[in-house]
């Protein structure tokens, strides 16, 4: 048994920031299923929002305006006190990252460069070319190394241990040795990321299975707003690799097969820089109505950067250019990029308050795996990097405060019991079964992309629900090829699939129940927002029968009365 005061799960921005904030005063261990720099934070491109007022066009920007944009972007489902907190912390957190060495791009006056982004009233997105996640994650990892944070790379958490309303730690499979290890901790903090791979078309890394969310849910912690799934408007066809919103921030056009900048019809003021939910629906509408382009990999819309010129593309969007060349054989200096919308971000997640605390004693979560909620029904571009670091920091502060009263006594017994259970599960997965985990996962993700996508109807959602339930039944027959535990990625994948199915179940059920259209959740059969009945969060708990039971909770409204969104 490994023991720590505080166990952090996840080596992305949230987990590392929490660890850095706690390691001086407490005995902290950080567990990550990959080397931390492989975490999905690395893939964020466009930037991090903070009202620094460095851009000449943003001199009168403020945290209040940032909060308003965030709340409006969320289609008024964000908790306004939490959104305000995040936006107040934005400038300090960006300066802190800079002081720790983060190599942001610079304006000629030597200040941090800022570009326009979707749904934002001012150019407030701080960036480092188109590798902002890469530079932030490296900086925080460097900071963790400088502080000597105890990191366990390639430790895969199989289960979270909650008993009688208290968290005792986790059970880990050491990927390298194959050993099962209970890790006891007074406090467990999840920064385990989103569930993108529950969808077939996703920009997310292959490791983004949402297993942390599924684990928390299965162990008894509730989830919030799971039906809100962000589809990013501009993803490369085929691989669905992200083409940053920064492309449009720098001035790129979206063009249909008639050569029209069609956003003029839908969002005449914001044009290409309307929020993501809106732009994704516009692109999908253009494609559905026959104004897309044809390609063996699917129908698409053009993202045209050519008028920006070679110099600007090479300077501001070099990664985008390289990805386009490597993965689709197109140089955006010369040709438009073929794009389509794809799943990108999980607005919903583990239900926590603005201190990252869940209702379970000793269990906290932050970043994409959690739902505070600061993003409500639709997250603005540039707010996720912000969320990860801000709530990594605020979570660490809250934990430190809560531990002033003493470190909760985590028990060995429930952990050993859980370890036995995991042992049995792994044994069962390694016994012959007719379902291959990889193929069943492919089926699940195809169902989710097809039935729980950008445009939703009761009929399709009901079909999706039945299919997910059927896949859940078939999961009992999953068997992996080898009983060897070490470096057995088929085995870890099979464990994760179980959690992915649970996550999918909560998404589709939430989508069926929410009979309105708000932010990313668009119902063709209920195509307007309904504040009277639905200005509330969806809470999903695993019921005694193993199915999600849904309740609702209040949205915190402070200074911004819900209004219709116009861009």
């Amino acid at each position: 048994m490994v023991n720590h005061d505080i166990l952090i799960v996840g080596g992305g921005l949230t987990g590392l920031r929490a660890a850095v904030g706690l390691c001086d005063a407490f005995d902290v261990g950080l567990v990550s299923k990959v080397y931390p720099t492989r975490s999905h934070s690395i893939a964020a491109q466009g930037g991090i929002n903070a009202p620094l007022t460095n851009n000449p066009d943003s001199r009168d920007d403020s945290w209040e305006k940032h909060t308003f944009d965030t709340v409006k972007g969320s289609d008024y489902l964000a908790d306004q006190d939490a959104a305000e907190l995040m936006c107040r912390e934005a400038a300090p957190i960006v300066y802190e990252m800079e002081h720790w060495g983060c190599p942001f791009s610079r304006f000629p006056d030597g200040t941090i460069a800022q570009r326009p982004f979707g749904g934002a009233g001012y150019p407030r997105t701080c960036y480092s070319a188109d590798i902002t996640g890469h530079v932030l994650l490296n900086t925080l990892y460097e900071r963790a190394v400088a502080k000597g944070v105890k990191i366990y790379p390639e430790w895969f958490v199989t289960s979270l241990c909650i008993e009688e309303g208290q968290c005792h730690g986790v059970v880990v499979l050491d990927i390298r040795t194959g050993e099962l290890i209970p890790v006891r901790a007074g406090v467990t903090f999840f920064g385990t990321g989103g569930y993108g791979r529950v969808f077939q078309h996703s920009t997310n890394a292959l490791i983004n299975t949402g297993s942390g969310i599924g684990m928390a849910y299965t162990a008894g912690a509730p989830l919030k707003d799971m039906e809100f799934v962000q589809f990013h408007p501009t993803c490369l066809i085929g691989t669905n690799i992200l083409m940053t919103e920064g492309c449009r921030g720098e001035g790129a056009y979206l063009v249909n097969n008639r050569g029209e900048r069609f956003m003029q019809k839908y969002a005449p003021t914001a044009m290409e820089l309307a929020p993501r939910d809106i732009v994704s629906r516009c692109i999908q509408t253009e494609i559905n109505e026959g104004r897309g382009f044809e390609h063996p990999l699917g129908k698409y819309i053009q993202l045209d950067l050519r008028h920006l010129g070679e110099k600007k593309i090479l300077e501001r969007l070099p990664g985008i250019r390289q990805i386009s060349i490597d993965f689709i054989g197109i140089d955006p200096v010369l040709e438009p990029i073929p794009i389509m919308p794809a799943q990108h971000y999980s607005m919903g997640g583990i239900d926590v308050d603005k201190r990252c605390a869940s209702e379970v004693r000793g269990f906290y979560a932050g970043g994409e795996c959690s739902c505070v909620s600061v993003h409500g029904a639709n997250r603005l571009g540039g707010n996720s990097l912000l969320d990860t670091i801000v709530f990594g920091k605020l979570g660490s502060k809250a934990i430190a405060e809560d531990l002033e009263e003493g470190i909760p006594r985590a028990e060995e017994k429930p952990l050993l019991k859980l370890k036995d259970k995991v042992e049995a599960t792994l044994r069962k997965l390694a016994s012959p079964g007719k379902e291959r985990p990889g193929l069943l996962q492919a089926e699940l993700s195809a169902v989710m992309s097809e039935k729980v996508g950008i445009f939703r109807t009761r009929e399709e959602l009901e079909q999706g629900l039945q299919m997910v339930i059927e896949i859940k039944r078939r999961y009992r027959d999953v068997g992996v090829s080898s009983a060897a535990r070490h470096m057995n990625y088929e085995l870890t994948g099979a464990v994760e699939l179980g959690y992915m199915i649970e996550v999918a179940h909560t998404i589709v059920l939430g989508a069926i129940l929410r009979e309105e259209s708000r932010g990313s959740h668009f119902r063709l059969d209920f195509n307007t927002r309904n504040d009277t009945d639905w200005l509330k969060h969806t809470i999903a708990r695993m019921g005694p029968d193993g199915d999600p039971a849904i309740t609702f909770s209040e949205v915190a409204i402070t200074r911004y009365e819900p209004k219709e969104r116009k861009y």
């Binding site: 990959v34 080397y35 720099t37 492989r38 975490s39 999905h40 690395i42 893939a43 620094l52 960006v94 300066y95 800079e98 002081h99 720790w100 060495g101 190599p103 942001f104 791009s105 610079r106 304006f107 000629p108 006056d109 030597g110 200040t111 941090i112 480092s128 590798i131 890469h134 530079v135 490296n138 900086t139 460097e142 900071r143 190394v145 400088a146 890394a205 292959l206 085929g238 691989t239 690799i241 990999l297 990664g319 390289q322 990805i323 490597d326 993965f327 291959r436 985990p437 990889g438 193929l439 492919a442 992996v480 090829s481 080898s482 060897a484 070490h486 470096m487 057995n488 990625y489 088929e490």
Partner: protein, 249 residues
């Protein structure tokens, strides 16, 4: 260029936990649609053909640095290598050299990370922290640009001929990381900090044959870093001889 439907993948298999079984090539015949990457094929093999195959992957878009390996004799990331990029319908995959194999295409990255940690890979400041950002000009930012792009994939580490004969050599990635900080206008580490690489297992060990530059998937030039660090060390030595700096600790 051959546009074969079916490709033969020969993958070097080995399990350090079963040392009696010698490394061997396993052969898989896979039909490939145009545009498929080596990583996509590896995933298909694991999902559909042979679940025991071990390899690392995460982002599948050449930014996380997980999937470095040897592909038809060339070190690269599996995720950004098109199957059709070779003038043959046989693709041979081997683990990254200069690191111990744990299983199949997975190598033990521990030495790589130890070298990384050794050079103090973080910004060191002595001046008080300003309220806002530490100013940095566009030119100063540009100076560190290529090193900032490093994704720590260890392609350079696998390609380095010095590491092949001297496992304690610091390697290209760690040197490039140190240069990233030395060149950063905000960094205030003392010149003596370079002593950490001022020996034959540090920057003086490099053969300057540029294999690391060829292998880097992100156009980083670690040899530039090594040459830059050598110059900096020599410069510091002269300044010391001329009595222009006091010994720093």
């Amino acid at each position: 260029m051959i546009k074969a439907d079916t490709y033969t993948f020969k993958i070097l298999r080995y399990d350090a936990k079963a040392p009696d079984t010698k490394p061997r090539f396993a052969t898989y015949r896979i039909s490939v649609i145009p545009g498929l990457t080596v990583l996509a094929v590896l995933l298909r093999i694991r999902d559909e053909v042979d679940g025991t195959l071990s390899f690392r992957c995460s982002c599948r878009s050449a930014v996380c640095g997980s999937c470095a390996m040897v592909i038809n004799g060339k070190i690269d990331l599996a995720c950004r290598t098109q199957v059709s990029a070779f003038n043959t319908d046989t693709i041979i995959l081997e683990p990254l050299p200069n690191l111990e194999v744990i299983r199949d295409l997975v190598v033990d990255m521990t030495p790589f990370w130890q070298m990384y940690e050794k050079i103090k890979p973080y910004l060191i400041r002595k001046s008080p922290v300003p309220e806002r950002e530490i100013p940095q000009s566009e030119e100063e930012r540009l100076r560190i640009d290529q090193y900032v792009n490093c994704i720590l994939c260890a392609c350079c580490y696998g390609a380095c001929p010095v590491l092949a004969r001297e496992p304690e050599y610091i390697g290209p990635a760690a040197a490039a990381k140190l240069e990233r900080f030395v060149l950063d206008s905000r960094d205030e580490r003392p010149a003596a900090a370079l002593d950490i690489l001022n020996h034959e297992k540090g920057v003086w060990g490099c053969d300057t044959v540029f294999r690391c530059i060829d292998a880097c998937p992100k156009d980083v030039r670690p040899t530039d870093a090594i040459v830059g660090l050598r110059k900096e060390i020599v410069k510091h030595r002269f300044r010391k001889m001329l009595g222009k700096v006091k010994d720093e600790t």
